[in-house]
Amino acid sequence: MSGMNNQGRPTAAGEASSSSFETYTGNKGLRLEEPLIFELDNPGATGVDLDEPEGYEPKLGAFERKARIGLPGMSEPDVMRHYVRLSRKNYSIDAGLYPLGSCTMKHNPRLNEKMARLPGFADVHPLQPQKTVQGALELMDTLAHWLKELTGMPAVAMSPKAGAHGELCGMMAIRAALVARGEGDKRTRILVPESAHGTNPATAALLQYKVDAIPATADGRVDLAAFKAKLGPDVAAIMLTNPNTCGLFERDIIEIADAVHAAGAYFYCDGANFNAIVGRVRPGDLGVDAMHINLHKTFSTPHGGGGPGAGPVVLSEALAPFAPLPYVVHGADGFRLVETVGEAKADGSHPFGRMVAFHGQMGMFVRAMAYMMSHGSDGLRQVAEDAVLNANYVLASLKDYLSAPFEGPCMHEALFDDRFLKGTGVETLDFAKAMIDEGYHPMTMYFPLVVHGALLIEPTETESKHTLDQFIGTLKHLAQAAKGNDKSRFTGAPHFAPRHRLDETLAARNPVLRWQAETPKQAAE
């Protein structure tokens, strides 16, 4: 017990002193420094109790590993503490607003985590006999049904591991359809708006397509005339994000789709922004041929510091037959996983191949399913409406303090540019870093490329008005401070984070990508 800590000695508040001195440990209260595990090595210590096997008769041939690997030894308490201390250096949605445009950082319900950990889902092997995994196949089939209904598309490929992987899958389906038409070699060009996300051109390039950029209009949308001018018999597809990366709905999307189809090309839609329209608009009604869905955005599977995600791709009638292996079908004898070209042919389809080992991100499927069932069709429609409402509220509240390149209404994200910083000597990056001091994760910066010094804010529907009001107040305050001459507050930012601004130039000039016995420990620890 430490009950005696103020035995007869109640502390009087005494005088505040915000003096800042260096501590002996480098820690500052609850702000704790932490070395690398390799610097904590205690040879012989281990955090797992295992008994040496008795009667050990190796059958390794000539392949026994002799040398020391170099892994550090630590007990369980030390490992626990190490990662808890590291975690405390992170910002997270659970701790505050995370307004990264294009990332849809929404609340991650813990129910989904719990469901994904049911042994019946988490402790099942992908290659068990199919009769022993009927529940898993049922879940995949049910999720597929929801995705098809929500998008108004007839088919979905479930196996892609993330959005970019979904793009690849969709473009492969398009390529397969063209090949089947004998136009595989003829159509070599992909039209991609300048505002597109980097994965779009990168994906097209992976398939050896030529990327042809479509300019944007003054109102942040595809320039219809320029686009039509670029259409031609050598165009394989257009890759269009809708709502687009400026947070705007492409008004002419149906006309675009019709033109694409008239030209014998296909329409790939980047569905990363599906959260803005889920339950209200079905991509199938817009003429889309393929669209990936980031389950880790719209359907709330956690980002986990960079993954894992899942990127199922919905497909139109024209592309459905080319969907990759494997896929689930529902027959009289229950659910069946079609794994081989042979079986597929028997079904009359022509899979272009396989995207990945096994069947996709089951763990994410369970989470997304729990999320969808919780919302239902009514809740999901509300998701889109509140996401759009929140974004427009931010846009309307800030457009006179920051500078907005385009007229509203926006969809799920509000885009600003850096004109309001002109002459202040404060850059977009500095402005964003100052938000860290205020306890916020910055918004997406310098993307999309079509506006200068972009600041892209996506609040998502899971933020309350109370939270948005404080956020808006903070940005107004910072905008004023920037216009005043409080420059060092920005250029020196962040002042209060676990680290001050990091030298990324040094990191790239002289890459240190792993710990080495001789790595100087420097300040850490």
Partner: protein, 448 residues
């Protein structure tokens, strides 16, 4: 709805600020034709209790690996993951943060990525590793494309004992890009495949897996030398990373790129995903690597810190010139890997590997004692292949009916190859008890 903070009053007030009459107003850019009023034809919202009951019922329709004697491998392995791992990866600060693009407030993520990269480099015996790929199969395909960039050649040669799914993924990606792939026919354990003969002047890389699809350990040295002699790269594939606690790492046998599946450490079976792809190579090739890299640097006060670096390789900077289109990867699975491996440490990891091997050896012995069953492998880690007197698929089905998940019929992933029909690929890890093995043997006798 419990996840939606806005009340009707909030919505009204906010619409007022925006100056819109209704939410429909905000969707006015949507073409008439595509507007839907009313709900999509799907069930309505449900409370937590209802959702939990429905999904629990669905899950119960599967036979989970913990409920039976379990011996399936084939690229995914059932290991015991310490409870600390799952507790830590659920920390809000890890689970609900994004890719660490703002290093000042994501040092937690960045430091574990740096630790992960180091661990992977150490295990594989390579210089550097990236911050993870989707899984082993996609890492393998990315390795082939990287070899093409390095060698400026286009043709990959694949061993016949490469995991069939990995082979399919490589073929799919290469052919979509118009690059030729030469894949050998599967050579059974014992028989050596003459892959060296296939290495030509236009060969970009040779892709060899060890332990193989059949569980056999392969000597890479000669293949590496032959490849290097022709200016080609050797890509080594390690589907069971625990093997590197006991087996010579590809890095010591001349591999130029090592890819692997990291699921075995820290991650559950999850019916196939999410898993974590491992990708390691030599320093000289760093700038051709796909995926994210975390690097060490200093902050304005001179304190050590970590950042994502060399991003000029990546799609968000280089767009169509990027080394890959990968963006979201397997961050949290990499964290689970890093924590589990930290718990094991040098001694624990090696001991774990010895237990796996010992269990597999015991099982191999026991099974080959069954009349008509033959063990094909000479050298293996925790997985091997046996020949049965009848169809492996039939046997596995019969075993399942009797409550034993007894392995992977070799032919399931390589259909239409009669020589494989009676072959069963069997794995045994630290989770198997003597009782499990006894049950397996007894049940096998029954069904044969």
């Amino acid at each position: 709805m419990r996840y939606l903070p806005l009340t009707q009053a909030d919505r009204r007030e906010m619409l007022g600020v925006i100056g819109a009459k209704s939410v429909d107003d905000l969707f006015r850019d949507v073409p008439e034709r595509a507007r839907r009023d009313g709900f999509v034809d799907l069930p309505r919202r449900q409370g937590e209790l209802e959702v939990e009951r429905a999904l629990t019922k669905m899950a119960a329709k599967n036979i989970s690996a913990d409920s039976v004697p379990f011996f399936i491998g084939g690229g995914a392995y059932r290991h015991h993951v310490p409870s600390v791992v799952d507790h830590l990866i659920q920390r809000s600060e890890f689970l609900t943060s994004y890719t660490p693009y703002q290093p000042e407030i994501t040092q937690g993520t960045l430091q574990y990525l740096f630790e992960f990269q180091t661990q992977v480099a150490l295990l594989t015996g390579m210089d550097v590793a990236n911050a993870s790929m989707y899984d082993g199969s996609t890492a393998c395909a990315e390795a082939v494309l990287m070899a093409h960039r390095v060698t400026k050649r286009k043709k990959a040669v694949l061993s016949g004992t490469l995991h069939p799914h990995y082979r399919a993924v490589v073929e799919n990606l290469c052919e979509a890009g118009g690059d030729p792939v030469e894949a050998l026919a599967p050579a059974l354990p014992g028989k050596t495949e003459d892959i060296i003969a296939r290495i030509a002047d236009d060969t970009s890389c040779v892709v060899v897996q060890t332990p193989t699809y059949f569980g056999e350990l392969i000597d890479l040295r000669a293949i590496a030398d032959a490849a290097h002699a022709k200016g080609a790269l050797l890509i080594a594939v390690v589907p069971e990373i625990v093997s590197l606690g006991l087996v010579t790492p590809p890095g010591e046998m001349g591999a130029d790129i090592v890819v692997g599946e990291g699921q075995s450490i820290g991650n559950g079976l999850n019916f196939g995903g999410p898993y974590v792809g491992l990708f390691a190579t030599r320093t000289k090739y760093v700038r051709q690597m796909p995926g994210r890299l975390c690097g060490q640097t200093v902050d304005a006060e001179g304190k050590r810190g970590f950042v994502l670096t060399l991003s000029t390789r990546e799609q968000h900077i280089r767009r169509e010139k990027a080394t890959s289109n990968i963006c979201t990867n397997s961050g949290l699975c990499a964290l689970a890997f890093t924590i589990h491996l930290s718990l094991l440490g040098e001694d624990g990891f090696k001991r774990l590997a010895r237990i796996n091997h010992a269990n597999a050896v015991k099982l191999g012995k026991a099974l080959s004692g069954v009349a008509g069953v033959e063990l094909l492998n000479d050298a293996f880690f925790n997985e091997f292949t046996i020949r049965l007197p009848k169809s492996a698929t039939a046997v596995v089905d019969a075993l399942a009916d009797k409550g034993v998940l007894g392995g992977l019929p070799a032919g399931r992933l390589i259909p239409g190859n009669a020589t494989l029909d009676n072959l069963l690929i069997v794995a045994s890890t630290e989770i198997n008890t003597d009782q499990d093995r006894a049950d397996f043997v007894a049940t096998l006798k029954e069904v044969l």
